[in-house]
């Protein structure tokens, strides 16, 4: 498992396409418990990201690639998700600073740093019904697979499975962070939009970088709202 900046860039492009495809659905999820803009926000941000990458060129330094992604998200998304996704990538950038290749351990520390950044910024814990519910288990599963000496495919697959379980787990939760928390008990029964977009991010990694075929992961079903 070693990925170059070009590989990482393919992942980011795939994520942009995925967000564009699920924009309306993500906004609908946000309409139910937030303010109906998560799809619009992420779509605006990811379009800006790929425009930037296509403009500026990807280069070889994975750290600077992540930094470009993070900075662009921060400066184009706004809302809660802008700084959170931005921080995720900016911290991954610090972890991958100067690297031209990312191996299993490299990815694991990047994820770890990114997730820590998101939690430091947003103060959310598992169970608060946020993107953290997808991100933390995914990162942990990735690291565990790498620790067991697993392949790239195994690590990404484990992460995607964990992210998928994480996003599903948000459905019954009562939100304690973000806009959805205003709803109190009424937030239960709805899938968190941020956790859903995070799941899409990791799923894209599994496909593009882990080479895990889409069908294996029942792609896309996590964007369907699950009623309880």
């Amino acid at each position: 498992m070693t990925d170059t900046a070009a590989d990482v860039s393919r992942w980011i492009h795939a994520f942009q396409a995925e967000i564009a495809e699920h924009r309306v659905r993500l906004t609908e999820l946000d309409a139910a418990i937030g303010d109906a803009d998560h799809g619009t926000n992420m779509d605006r941000g990811m379009r800006a990201v790929v425009a930037k990458l296509d403009d500026a060129g990807v280069g070889v330094d994975i750290g600077s690639l992540f930094k470009t992604v993070g900075m662009t998200l921060v400066s184009s998304v706004g809302g809660a998700s802008g700084p959170l996704y931005g921080t995720l990538f900016l911290r991954m950038a610090t972890a991958a600073a100067g690297l031209t290749e990312l191996n299993g351990d490299g990815w694991a520390s990047a994820w770890d740093a990114g997730v820590a950044g998101v939690q430091a910024r947003g103060k959310a814990e598992i169970g608060d019904k946020t993107m953290v519910d997808a991100l933390v288990p995914a990162s942990a599963a990735f690291a565990a697979a790498v620790g067991r000496g697993g392949s790239s495919a195994e690590a990404w697959h484990a992460a995607a499975v964990a992210a998928r379980a994480g996003v599903k787990s948000t459905v019954p939760m009562v939100a304690r962070k973000g806009r959805a928390s205003y709803l109190g008990e009424r937030s239960a029964g709805h899938q968190d939009p941020g956790a859903t977009s995070t799941y899409l991010l990791i799923e894209c990694g599994a496909e593009v970088l882990g080479g895990v075929a889409r069908a294996d992961r029942e792609r896309g079903t996590a964007t369907e709202s699950v009623s309880t």
């Binding site: 803009d37 400066s75 998304v77 809660a80 802008g82 931005g86 009562v174 973000g178 205003y182």
Partner: protein
């Protein structure tokens, strides 16, 4: 969707262009990133005041930029917080060497973006304090929520801090004024109709012809309770009752009473509401020292109102009375 606009995606930019054209005597407007900046900024030696948030709440915040109020406002897209680089640019543009205060409404998005901006500004050597305003009593303030939303008290904070900064107070003191407003200000709103975010193109929620929502947020967030439409008297009883209990406001307290329209409610109704509020407070022995009646923090075309009460003292009253010269609030200048 019935609006006086062109393309929904251009509303904010076109609004800002309109503000630039209409108020060139007061402010300069940047379109990249979006900023409304006091004409004479940075004012050397004066604490700079920056606020911002999603658009759709006009005149807040862009209409409050000028002498005696904000030095800069950072408008985001409709109902979407501005980004850190926007806030950073505004912070730099208004830094007159005495530090910059960020007045932040308590929404996760606003908090996070302002936090990042403050970090970036500090890295560039600008002294920044941020005060979060969280006055909406409709939301339980607990570990289990993102806390109370920042609403009407923000308008008052911007005016009062603006006067304090104009008087030459230091950053910490100006921030203390904002903290005072946050500590002693309480708000609650209600809606007769929903707002319609331009990009969504449809109402955020549906209310029947005989229903209202008590405790509504300024982005159409659900309130405490949906109920049958009541009289102005009963509505004020519910809103002001919740406020008075919450602080609590007590007999003998002097307050600034602020009746705010949410965008689709005309002034004639706001005065009917103000009359009820005056009676309600007088009944409880609470004294209205100052008042404000009008649409100052809106939610697009939502019909409804909010009430804000802020406990006042002589210092606060003097700050309130000080000159202010902005498109949205103006006296003494």
């Amino acid at each position: 969707m019935k609006k006086l606009i062109n393309l929904p995606e251009n509303v904010v930019r076109e609004e800002l262009e309109g503000i630039a054209l209409a108020h060139a005597d007061l402010v300069r407007v940047s379109l990249d990133p979006y900023m409304v900046i006091r004409n004479d900024a940075p004012v050397q030696g004066k604490v700079g005041l920056v606020s911002g948030g999603g658009s759709g709440h006009e005149p807040m915040h862009g209409g409050f930029v000028g002498l005696g109020m904000l030095d800069a406002a950072c408008p985001g897209e409709v109902f979407t917080s501005p980004t850190p680089d926007q806030i950073l640019a505004a912070t730099k543009a208004v830094d007159g060497g005495a530090g910059v205060l960020h007045i932040v409404k308590n929404y996760t998005g606003d908090i996070l973006n302002f936090e990042m901006a403050a970090e970036l500004a500090r890295e560039e050597g600008i002294e920044v304090e941020a005060v979060v305003v969280a006055d909406d009593v409709a939301v339980k303030d607990s570990l289990y929520t993102a806390g109370r939303r920042g609403v009407g008290a923000t308008v008052l904070a911007e005016k009062l801090c603006g006067a304090a900064a104009e008087n030459g107070l230091g950053l910490k003191q100006v921030a203390d004024v904002c903290r005072h407003v946050d500590e002693f200000g309480r708000s609650m709103g209600m809606a007769l109709t929903s707002c319609v975010p331009p990009s969504a193109g449809r109402a955020t929620f549906e209310l029947a012809d005989d229903e209202m929502e008590i405790g509504i947020g300024i982005h159409g967030e659900p309130g405490r309770e949906r109920m049958k439409l009541a009289s102005a008297h009963d509505i004020v009883g519910m809103l002001a009752g919740a406020l008075v209990e919450d602080l609590p406001f007590r007999a003998g307290d002097e307050v600034l009473a602020f009746v705010n329209g949410l965008g689709g409610t005309p002034l004639i109704e706001l005065y009917v509401v103000y009359r009820e509020l005056d009676r309600f407070l007088t009944d409880k022995g609470i004294i209205i020292g100052r008042n404000l009646v009008g649409s100052y923090i809106t939610s697009l075309e939502m019909a409804g109102c909010s009430i804000t009460l802020l406990k006042m003292d002589a210092d606060m009253t003097a700050l309130w009375d000080a000159p202010v010269k902005t498109a949205g609030l103006r006296w003494g200048a």
